[in-house]
């Protein structure tokens, strides 16, 4: 297999190649490293490339596989991690000058699990500053360029993860999602992004942003890949109390069961009829809903009036972010970028009464949404408001970007959400839909997404590497 052929495979394809003897883990790892060397000067997906470590782990994996000691589907498969996930002995910056010299002392829980599964970690991926900054194209930590159009941003904050997976610079990646930071880049880069149920995946060793909203999850080229990667990282970790009630099931067992008999609720008023929804995203989403119906699902309109207050309840995040960064921004404000500095200061202006009001309304919203699940198996709606924007068109002064309503509601409620591609805009930019399920029911969410995916070929499309150039 040629190097470019290997890099065009999805994670399961790479695993099959390695475990079927068509390519060694070392050959696959070298193929990704060459592709990173060739293209990352433009794409800026990586902050740190761990070539020597990756090749050493790949050699170990090949030796173990040769001995018949296969660890599972990720054995020998090259992955990459957002640069807020700790790897012992490796620099971890969170995309910020505040952490520019930080070297992690021990692995994050998810890193330990990936190592135990035999995965090869290629490196650490670029991101928006501290998972809350604005996109930047220069400086020490540029946030990456969208491989479908390098003049456009990939969304964030897991921008490097989205870019690396879409561009074939790794077989799969981990991101983090506090208000849409996995699902935004996944939607804009044409890949699958999963925000798991709150408490399913440990955040120990992951740089925090907002403790009640932070989630770690997979970003991959297919639904099956996402299920496989989630299986590897999910589960209770005594080092993260939020995982004490984690319920892990087999995420691939029912993956091919189809959508027949599935009842879906469409949040039409809040999402489909939202004036901020791009017409081409809307039409692609409607076509995707029709496809799900052809696959046997039923779709009925549902609503929850407190969705209108989700933006107001977002004071939760502002307050938690300020609590986390208060001392650092007092002591070294100059080391934060301007965009994130203002956002952190905004949290100082949230009163205790506002925060408490937000928590009570959050409870109301949760009650309304959970009541919907008495009549439907999952909720469905567009994955994002609009395709990827040009860097120069992005407003820099906003706290909450327009369109964040498509994702941040589900962080407030901690429900599992998967974004996956459902077409392209006229400009050739990916568009996506989103499925949200009951707590810890990732298996049903994956099953529905897979039913759509296997009836379409959007997930097989790849961006053109010849277009990864900059004219100026």
């Amino acid at each position: 297999m040629s190097a470019d052929t290997l890099c065009d495979l999805d994670l399961s394809g790479v695993a099959d190649a390695i475990h079927g003897g068509k390519a060694s883990s070392v050959e696959v790892t070298e193929a990704y490293l060459r592709r990173i060397e060739r293209h990352d000067r433009v794409l800026k997906a990586y902050i740190t490339v761990m070539a020597d470590r990756a090749l050493a782990r790949a050699r170990t994996a090949d030796e173990e596989i040769r001995r018949g000691a296969r660890r599972g589907p990720l054995h020998g498969v090259p992955l990459a991690l957002k640069d807020l996930v700790a790897i012992a002995g490796v620099r971890m910056t969170a995309g910020s000058r505040v952490m520019t010299d930080h070297v992690s002392e021990r692995d994050a829980d998810v890193t330990e699990r990936l190592h135990a599964a035999g995965a090869v970690i290629l490196g650490k991926l670029s991101m928006r500053e501290c998972a809350f900054g604005r996109p930047v194209v220069d400086g020490a930590f540029p946030t990456g360029r969208n491989p479908w159009d390098v003049t456009r941003e990939p969304a964030g904050s897991s921008s490097g993860s989205g870019v690396a997976v879409a561009a074939g610079l790794c077989a799969g990646a981990l991101g983090s999602d506090t208000g849409g930071s996995i699902r935004g880049p996944a939607a804009r880069c044409g890949i699958v992004g999963v925000k798991p149920t709150y408490g399913l995946v440990s955040r120990r060793g992951v740089v925090a942003l907002s403790w009640s909203l932070d989630h770690v999850g997979p970003m991959t080229r297919s639904v099956r890949d996402a299920a496989v990667l989630l299986q590897a990282i999910a589960g209770h970790d005594p080092g993260d109390p939020s995982t004490r009630h984690a319920q892990v099931t087999d995420y691939t067992a029912e993956l091919e069961a189809g959508a027949r008999g599935i009842k879906l609720g469409l949040l039409r008023r809040f999402y489909l009829d939202s004036p901020g929804l791009h017409a081409e995203v809307k039409s692609a989403a409607l076509a995707a809903f029709d496809e799900l119906k052809r696959q046997g699902a039923t779709i009925e309109d549902v609503d929850a009036p407190t969705l209108d207050l989700a933006g107001a309840i977002w004071v939760t995040m502002l307050s938690e972010v300020y609590e986390l960064h208060r001392e650092t921004i007092r002591d070294q404000p100059q080391n934060f970028g301007e965009g994130i500095r203002t956002r952190i200061y905004m949290g100082a202006l949230v009163t205790a009464a506002d925060f408490q009001r937000g928590q009570r309304l959050r409870a109301r919203l949760r009650r309304e949404i959970m009541a919907l699940f008495e009549g439907v198996d999952a909720l469905v709606f567009p994955g994002h408001a609009a395709p990827a924007q040009r860097f120069e068109d992005i407003a820099t002064g906003q706290i909450v970007v327009p369109g964040s309503r498509y994702t941040n509601v589900w962080n407030l409620l901690g429900l599992p959400a998967v974004v996956f591609p459902c077409g392209f805009s006229r400009d050739g930019l990916p568009v996506a839909i989103q499925i949200v399920g009951r707590p810890f029911d990732e298996a049903t969410v994956f099953r529905i997404a897979r039913a759509y995916e296997r009836a379409t070929d959007w997930h097989t499309k790849r961006p053109n590497p010849e277009a990864w150039t900059l004219t100026s």
């Binding site: 933006g311 309840i313 977002w314 404000p333 301007e338 200061y345 506002d354 009570r360 309304l361 109301r364």
Partner: protein, 51 residues
Amino acid sequence: MRASFDAEMRAAGLSLAGRDYELLFAMWTEHRPQREALRAAVPMPDEEPDA
């Protein structure tokens, strides 16, 4: 507006000047409708977050 903003800054213990001050004022102004919506939405007595 400026007086309210300055009072909130003082209450929060923030002391900003120049561009940081102006950017935060702009963001605070942009956020006011959300905050007013939050304060206007009165929860029912039994609407409490889970423990």
